[in-house]
Symmetry: C2
Subunit: 121 residues, 2 copies
């Protein structure tokens, strides 16, 4: 068996509340995280919810990086779906955790698309 | 404890290969799935990888819906991150599985942002 992709879900707790509200700050750190992890950025989109959090998504050649923030809980949900071996997703997460000043982080790695080695139909 | 969001990862196996290659078909089924699940669409973006698969996402007011397809393996990875209670994410997945003619699907539900009820800092 081989997996076609790895999906990593990361919980960032006790972040800097002001950074989680700041659309420009989120855009910058997401782009920096993607590039640092050696992802190839295709396009991105962000949305700020009034006085509340930010959602953002970067489509990368290796799949995607997303973020959703809840400043009122000092929490950000990040996920990175990657295929291929040249990326190092953990660089992206360390950078996001550091830039958002997360005091606590939890991650979960899920193998996606487990197929037999020769399964091309 | 309460969770701020629910992240559902779905594996769609043995799909219709031609549909997984078809950018317009993927766009249509994704939009239909989001709207059927009562999501509020903010924006979307898609990318077709040469003769291969398609990646796409819809940023929704309730978080996001994404897809990555591997036609050569007749496989699609879908994930839906949702917060709030008015959406029914399973409607979206049933519709995607049906439209992409998946013969087998596996799903995993992950609670995101588990915080104490009164945790607003």
């Amino acid at each position: 068996m081989k997996s076609l992709g790895i999906h990593i879900l990361v919980e960032l707790f006790h972040c800097n509340k002001e950074k989680l509200k700041d659309l420009e700050s989120i855009k910058q750190v997401m782009k920096k995280a993607a590039l640092s992890a050696r992802a190839t950025v295709i396009c991105d989109a962000y949305h700020k919810f009034g006085e509340e959090g930010v959602s953002g998504f970067i489509l990368i050649a290796e799949s995607h990086l997303s973020i959703h923030t809840w400043p009122e809980h000092r929490y950000a949900a990040v996920d990175l779906f990657t295929c291929g071996k040249h990326m190092d997703p953990w660089i992206a997460f360390d950078l996001l955790a550091s830039d958002l000043e997360a005091e606590h982080k939890v991650s979960m790695e899920v193998k996606r698309g487990e197929v037999f080695q020769d399964q091309e139909e």
